[in-house]
């Protein structure tokens, strides 16, 4: 079978186009891949490969302040995810279901944390806490994380509900279920994948956040990204790379889990039976 010439709109089959794509992907991945690769490099500074080792991971693990920062990140992320998921899911559901006066304006207002530059929100939180004389610490960090995460959860849940077949609820009411039962048995199961996706998003956002955390953290309440930042300012060592790789790995696993859930829920469009 001879090779078929590509048609005008089959861009990805044209050689020069493939080159452009390849260059882009190299650009996107090279720095990260290099970073990860060199966390295993048995050499302090050089960019030449000197053998595979896990010693920097061990070093990072034993680094007390690094480990504390990691724990702090988990605590903050855990609480932030829990609260923002609940609040955000309720908000998303309400936006899907109800119409009320000034809904458009409300919509814009509630989604502000998503579009506002992080630095603006960071300094605002700092001003707020200092005005109210609240000491900066894990509490202030968590509160801020919830504030910027919950709109994201609302967006995800609302998007999920957009595909909901409303007549399922009507059928349940018709058969005698009350509001709470209808919600529990019909709406909530459908919402679940959206809630889970929103929760994972909130988790990732919290774990990865730097700027807002930077302004709302105090001494003794360092999170992992902050700690990594201070290490990087000092110098980029394989130890830092190791800590970063761990963070990347966690985030990636969460992402893959989210996507698997979303893919599976796409196939099972209704209730898990």
């Amino acid at each position: 079978m001879r090779k078929v010439r590509p048609t005008p709109l089959e861009y990805t089959r044209k050689k020069w186009f493939q080159l452009v794509l390849l260059l882009n992907f190299i650009f996107l991945y090279f720095p990260i891949v290099a970073l990860i690769a060199f966390s295993f490099n048995n050499s302090r500074r050089n960019i030449t490969w000197k053998g595979f080792t896990l010693k920097y991971y061990v070093k990072a693990f034993h680094n007390e302040s690094l480990f504390d920062a990691f724990l702090n990140s988990l605590i903050v992320a855990g609480i932030s995810t829990a609260v923002s998921t609940v609040l955000g899911a309720m908000l998303g559901l309400a936006l899907y279901r109800f119409k009320f006066p000034a809904k458009n304006a409300f919509d814009g207002w509630i989604h502000l944390p998503i579009i506002i530059p992080e630095i603006c929100m960071g300094v605002a939180m700092l001003a707020f806490f200092s005005r109210l004389n609240i000491t900066l610490g894990l509490f202030t960090i968590t509160v801020s994380h919830i504030a910027f995460s919950l709109p994201f959860v609302a967006v995800v849940v609302r998007a999920r509900m957009a595909g909901f077949d409303h007549s399922l609820e009507e059928a349940a009411r018709d058969l005698g279920a009350n509001q709470w039962q209808t919600f529990k048995d019909v709406t909530l199961p459908y919402m679940m994948p959206g809630i889970v996706a929103g929760a994972l998003l909130a988790l990732t956002l919290s774990l990865d956040d730097f700027v807002i955390t930077f302004f709302t953290s105090g001494p003794g309440s360092t999170t992992l990204p902050i700690k990594i930042f201070s290490m990087v300012r000092f110098s980029v060592t394989p130890e830092v790379n190791a800590a970063s790789t761990v963070l990347i790995a966690i985030t990636l696993i969460l992402t893959v889990v989210t996507m698997t859930i979303q893919a599976r829920s796409g196939k099972n469009k209704g209730l898990p039976l």
């Binding site: 090279f30 109800f98 506002i116 630095i119 603006c120 990204p225 990087v232 830092v240 970063s244």
Partner: protein
């Protein structure tokens, strides 16, 4: 859609907690900053409530205007480079055979999920004097040198001088482009995906070449999505804090860094607040422009 009046209790239960949180822990802080922007700096660096426009006036002073302008310019350059690189990617994915599409999308999104800090500092290893880029260039230099030596022309290449690619403004731009690329590709991809293929085929059928079709048909019709992507990247780049800190030099300060400085070591919160709100106003203006463009093209449904 239900009217809230028909179910006041449930609507309240669902809406109030989230709204209260945003009100107290987002809107209120912003309001405080807004009030501060009209305040004064006290002798020990505390903030005195007052009503003065001095801070805003100061923000528009030449030296600060310079930083503001540099931020806008840097963000614009980064946005353009991002577009030049990202548009073909979005185009390619939108027109890729179905079995590759999801994979390609995943590949573009994956870096986005990596921590911003990590993504930015990863470039340090690439751009520094003893970094990968210079390493690669040195290797290439060495090979060319060997070739020329064989041809009887030693020393024509001279010694290798590593490029100073880090801790300057170009590094900042590279870092910005790197972070923003997925944010540009996704909205443009989404729009191109929804575009009616037969419109482009019709253009080709009527005699227009590839580039003509792109300019007359594809881009005008995909414009809302392209604009969204461009604005997202611009806003992101404008308000950046980390990238100049990690990759920039002494004169790579952008508005985000200035704001942080005023809230940090300089301890001039009123001034920092004014700057912060200037940044916000610019952001809002851009969003408003986008909303205008979006509503104007609403009459025509694609």
């Amino acid at each position: 859609m239900e009217n809230w009046r028909d179910n006041k209790l449930v609507a309240a239960i669902l809406l109030v907690p989230a709204s209260a949180w945003i009100l107290i822990f987002f809107t209120l802080p912003l309001a405080i900053v807004w009030v501060y922007s009209f305040g004064e700096r006290g002798p020990q660096g505390q903030t005195l409530l007052a009503f003065t426009l001095d801070n805003y006036v100061r923000a528009l002073e030449l030296i600060h205007l310079g930083i503001l302008w540099k931020s806008v310019w840097t963000a614009a350059v980064a946005t353009l480079i991002c577009f030049a690189m990202g548009f073909p990617v979005a185009l390619g994915i939108a027109f890729a055979p179905a079995r590759f599409k999801n994979l390609l999308l995943l590949l573009v999104i994956l870096p986005f999920w990596t921590n911003l800090l990590i993504r930015t500092y990863a470039w340090i290893a690439v751009l520094r004097t003893r970094g990968f880029l210079n390493f690669g260039l040195e290797w290439g230099h060495g090979k060319l040198d060997t070739m020329f030596s064989f041809a009887g022309l030693p020393d024509i290449m001279g010694t290798f001088e590593p490029l100073a690619l880090l801790y300057n403004h170009s590094a900042v731009v590279i870092g910005l482009v790197y972070v923003a690329l997925p944010f540009l590709v996704l909205p443009i991809y989404a729009t191109l995906e929804k575009l009616d293929r037969s419109l482009m085929e019709a253009s080709l059928d009527l005699g227009a070449g590839q580039w003509r079709t792109m300019a007359s048909i594809t881009i005008p019709l995909a414009f809302p999505g392209i604009l969204s992507g461009l604005m997202l990247v611009f806003i992101l780049s404008l308000g950046t804090y980390l990238t100049p800190v990690l990759l920039g030099g002494t004169n790579s300060m952008m508005i985000g860094n200035l704001i942080a400085q005023e809230f940090g070591p300089a301890r001039d919160w009123p001034f920092g607040s004014a700057l912060s709100f200037l940044l916000l106003y610019i952001t809002f203006i851009i969003l408003w422009i986008r909303a205008m463009v979006a509503s104007r093209s609403k009459g025509v449904s694609y």
